[in-house]
């Protein structure tokens, strides 16, 4: 039998774990954090400026025009929603599969989900053009008839899917954090933090009758989040697949989108975890190279699944005998947007194959570089799907090209500022590793220490 690798390295006691994880929250604000927070804050302000331009002058500031009515906003929306999926996969699906290695990374991956969905949610809301009327997206009794929303439209399904996803993810994340917030409350030295963490911890005391209900509730939320996360990206893919456009109208979209979402999300988790490990060396005992290696294996596997989907799309385009379908795919790879297609294939299918080598899978520098490439590739995947399908449809008279404006570039770039600002606040003020979840598994893989389960 292959011996299990320890999930927590170093000879830790319970008190060590509490201290290590609470330290970044309890120590005085460091200059390094302040500098990074300041930088991402300015980045975020720049983004708010770009959003201001779009709200004030209208969506025409972006490159969208006839025939490409869906551009940067939809591409970047799908990109960020996809990123979020890895967090739920780690926190819910791996929980159901009893994968104990998830404990080290679950909290920050879930935080990533929340912030990624927040970042994503802004795009469709702004893309409506008149965001002050976004209330109309919800079916509420109104004086226009009442004129209800169209429940047959996938765009409306998206409203329900994304808002439910955000709500349930937030509740799940917060519920998981309550016992750790109670730890922070009990360790708080000054009045302000005692009050703040006292309120946030909701008065949790760790009594076993509570734990018993808590664990049941947590299990149920994991069970509900699992089909939810799969449904969200399926419904996002319906935005495309329900239409009749060649290149969009395919049944492979839901599983293909979900695999791609997990692929890109894990790449983002790897990127973030490497940065966190550099900034907080003590976290390296909880997020070990073994954790990163497992994630890299998932990236490689899902990368192959995505590659299979690319191949399958081409096969079906040829096998269907439909000239429009065939043209759409040949145009993708060899038309005016050939560069975006080949960036996508190289970043998503070819580059992750380097993870077959153990030294790459376990090397911090190579995996960091690959994770960035995967993120770039997945943005281009959504660009390829959205733009190349729209720019040449049935009638050559309505063919056109998409040109980025400075507002498009600012949106893509700025959205990372929003995400990083929230993430910086998270790692400073909340426990970034689930203390109460790591403690029970700290002896796994350590012979002679009663590493049961």
């Amino acid at each position: 039998m292959i011996p299990r690798k320890p999930l927590v390295t170093g000879d830790k006691t319970y008190a060590d774990i509490t201290r290590d994880i609470c330290e970044p929250v309890e120590s005085p604000i460091s200059k390094g954090w302040l500098a990074l927070f300041g930088a991402s804050g300015v980045w975020f302000l720049f983004y708010l400026g770009i959003i201001g331009v779009i709200v004030f002058f209208g969506t025409g500031m972006m490159g969208i025009t006839h025939p490409i009515g869906w551009g940067t906003m939809i591409v970047t929306f799908v990109f960020w929603i996809g990123i979020g999926h890895a967090g739920t996969l780690i926190s819910a699906i791996l929980f159901l599969f009893r994968q104990k290695w998830r404990t080290g990374i679950a909290r920050s991956a879930e935080a990533m989900t929340i912030f990624a969905v927040m970042t994503a949610g802004l795009f469709p809301a702004l893309h409506t053009g008149r965001p002050w009327l976004d209330l109309w997206l919800f079916p509420y009794p109104n004086q226009r008839g009442p004129l209800w929303v169209n429940f047959r439209s996938p765009l409306l399904w998206d409203v329900f899917a994304v808002s439910t996803y955000f709500t349930i993810s937030l509740v799940f994340w917060y519920l998981g954090m309550v016992p750790d917030l109670a730890t922070l409350r009990d360790r708080a030295k000054n009045k302000v933090s005692k009050l703040a963490y006292g309120a946030l911890s909701l008065g949790w005391r760790g009594s076993n009758r509570h734990w018993s209900h808590y664990e049941t509730a947590y299990l149920i939320l994991a069970g509900l989040s699992t089909p939810l996360v799969l449904s969200v990206h399926s419904i996002v893919s319906f935005d495309f697949a329900i239409s009749l456009l060649p290149g969009w109208h395919t049944t492979i979209f839901p599983p293909y989108f979900v695999a791609g979402a997990i692929f890109s999300g894990f790449a983002m988790v790897v990127t973030l975890m490497i940065l966190v490990r550099i900034a907080y060396p003590k976290i390296r005992d909880y997020v070990t190279v073994d954790h990163l290696e497992v994630m890299n294996k998932i990236i490689m596997t899902t990368g192959l699944m995505v590659g299979y989907a690319y191949g399958s799309e081409f096969f079906i385009a040829w096998y269907s005998g439909n000239i429009y379908e065939k043209y759409a795919f040949v145009n993708r790879a060899f038309g005016p947007y050939w560069w975006s297609y080949w960036i996508m294939v190289s970043c998503n299918v070819l580059i992750p194959q380097l993870f077959w080598f153990k030294s790459v899978r376990r090397g911090i520098v190579p995996m960091f570089i690959i994770s960035i490439f995967v993120n770039i590739g997945m943005w281009f995947e959504r660009f390829v799907i959205t733009v190349t399908s729209l720019h040449r449809d049935f009638l050559p008279a309505s063919w056109g090209m998409f040109y980025f404006t400075w507002v498009d570039i600012g949106l893509i770039f700025g959205s990372f500022g929003m995400f990083f600002t929230f993430f910086m606040i998270f790692i400073r003020f909340l426990p970034m590793v689930a203390i109460a979840e790591v403690k029970p598994v700290m002896n796994v893989g350590k012979p002679g220490k009663g590493g049961h389960h």
Binding site: W148, R152, Y214, A217
Partner: protein
């Protein structure tokens, strides 16, 4: 919901090992105590059996509210699309069931999930304002068993002796639980 203080005190023993705590909880139950509680920094597996607790009833709440979310969503979509203002959209039937499944599914999850958390809050009396804390290390690396003075077998000396036998490293008189 405000915290209603349960005005009773008792005696708490503190351990530093969860396996000892499990044995202690078992022993306390077998000694005939019914009003006692274990307080731990993380869920200790096997504690429910050691304390003789029944499985949580929260799944029933999830089931009922999930079912409610599902039927309300379906009913509402029928009302909107087929009853209140039927509109012919793409020649589809007014009540187009397949197209109504995604929203029905999402609302099932939403109702089920939120009701689960609400049920947890009710059963644990959360949020509790300023709950009495026996020892601040109980959210860190110590484990406690608390026996309430309202227990019919409550006897300070006997409990003290029992806790000592079971290897408690500290015994504390608690004024309010």
């Amino acid at each position: 919901m405000a915290h209603t203080p349960l005005k009773f005190g008792g005696l708490a023993g503190i351990w530093s090992d969860e396996h000892q705590l499990l044995k202690a909880a078992e022993a306390v139950r077998k000694a005939g105590f019914t009003r006692f509680e274990a307080i731990t920094p993380f869920p200790v597996h096997g504690m429910d059996q050691a304390m003789g607790l029944k499985p949580s009833w929260i799944p029933w709440v999830t089931f009922i509210f999930g079912l409610a979310g599902c039927s309300l969503a379906l009913l509402f979509q029928w009302y909107v699309a087929a009853y209140d203002w039927p509109l012919n959209i793409g020649g589809k039937p007014f009540f187009s069931l397949p197209a109504f499944i995604p929203v029905t599914f999402e609302l099932t999850i939403l109702f089920g999930g939120l009701s689960t958390v609400a049920a947890l809050f009710v059963v644990c009396r959360l949020p509790a304002v300023n709950p009495p804390i026996i020892d601040t290390r109980l959210t860190d690396d110590r484990f406690a068993i608390f026996i309430a003075e309202t227990d019919k077998n409550y006897d300070l000396e006997k409990i003290d002796q029992l806790f000592r036998q079971l290897g408690a490293e500290e015994i504390k008189k608690v004024a309010e639980f």
